[in-house]
């Protein structure tokens, strides 16, 4: 229960972050508040799009799905349903794999790190760890 609540909260934060980056890509935010990172370089590189869609949009969809599934999973009817646990683990594994690919591009192709991408990577890693912990528990 607690784990799923934590996943829901983290997914919400990730969703807001992905929305922020998406609004930037749509031109609704002039400048990214990035501090010392290289957000502009990363966000304007050709790797910031996959199959013609900005990476941030995938983030919005991914976190939104995790949020909805997690929220459903904390309802009394589904709180002990193992299918939700497995679904969360599968979804977060997909998200983590995509994040690892993007982090590889940042570090070894672009040689630039977008601070917000790092925050997102930490969030998805935490969600993944929590969901895998749920899978391993049998009680």
């Amino acid at each position: 229960m607690r784990r799923r609540q934590a996943i829901v909260l983290l997914a919400l934060v990730g969703l807001l972050l992905a929305l922020y980056l998406s609004l930037y890509k749509l031109g609704l935010i002039g400048t990214l508040q990035c501090g010392t990172g290289s957000c502009e370089y990363v966000q304007t590189s050709r790797y910031a799009e996959v199959l013609g869609m900005p990476v941030a949009f995938y983030g919005v969809v991914g976190y939104a799905v995790l949020f909805v599934v997690g929220l459903a999973g904390v309802q009394p009817r589904l709180v002990t349903d193992r299918r939700v646990t497995v679904l969360l683990a599968a979804l977060s594994s997909l998200g983590l794999a995509f994040t690892l690919y993007l982090t590889y591009i940042e570090l070894f192709v672009l040689h630039a790190v977008c601070r917000w991408c790092v925050v997102s990577a930490v969030i998805i890693a935490a969600i993944w760890a929590l969901s895998m912990w749920g899978v391993r528990r049998t009680d």
Binding site: L16, T31, G35, E40, Y41, S45, R46, P54
Partner: protein, 226 residues
């Protein structure tokens, strides 16, 4: 459970409010912006590059322009004044023009545009890209990601796109751009465009007539000296 829902609503309200605030913030007008220490590029060290030039090496006068491709005043200068300056001063061998980058950190795509120009310069077409970026300046008003548009510019001026892509993705000239910004900071550049004529800051209104008068005056002084 109640505490969880309260926390969920609190995060949604705070985050939603922050997003709304971010969409409402408008950048200050370009002419009044003070350059901040923006994000330093992570690759490519400065290599002593002194900017792209056009005009005779033996010209008596050199004008150094610190400019920002996203700045509307720079675009206006490049499209209205620069063609006349080119015809009356540069083409006649009176002036050598040197372009230096001074991308303002408040502009989302200034550095990216500067990189595009340098990557074009790598293939000998800096000024062609410079003209594309300034004459087709709509990209700076929309605020949308200009990556594919710049690539179209690159294609239009005949660049090898594979080389261009490799150059852009590796940010090959980010160090040069940062070095130019730091040089501008040292010289007291605090807005764009800013000009230096034979090393002295040009303080007047930057029109072709003003540059012509100044260049003619400097040329006469030089001739009258024994």
């Amino acid at each position: 459970m109640k505490g969880f829902h309260t926390m969920l609503v609190a995060v949604a309200v705070v985050g939603g409010g922050a997003l709304w605030y971010a969409t409402q913030r408008k950048p200050a007008p370009a002419s009044t912006r003070t350059p901040e220490r923006g994000a330093p590029p992570s690759v490519a060290a400065a290599d002593g590059f002194r900017g792209f030039t056009v005009g005779s090496d033996s010209a008596a006068v050199e004008v150094v322009e610190y400019s920002d491709f996203e700045c509307p005043f720079c675009a206006s200068f490049a499209t209205v004044q620069m063609p006349v300056i080119h015809e009356q001063l540069i083409a006649k061998g009176k002036v050598r023009w040197r372009y230096r980058d001074f991308p303002l950190p408040t502009h989302a795509y200034s550095r990216y545009a500067a990189l595009a120009a340098h990557c074009a310069g790598e293939q000998g077409k800096f000024w062609e890209m410079h003209d594309q970026l300034f004459f087709r300046h709509d990209w700076a008003q929309t605020g949308k990601n200009p990556r594919s548009l710049f690539r179209d510019f690159a294609k239009g001026i005949g660049l090898d796109l594979d080389r261009y892509d490799a150059c852009m993705d590796s940010q090959r000239y980010a160090g040069r751009i940062q070095a130019s910004v730091e040089e501008g900071d040292r010289l007291g550049v605090n807005g764009t465009p800013t000009f230096f004529v034979n090393g002295r800051r040009f303080g007047g209104h930057p029109t072709s007539d003003a540059f012509t008068a100044l260049v003619d005056s400097l040329t006469r002084q030089r001739k009258s000296k024994p």
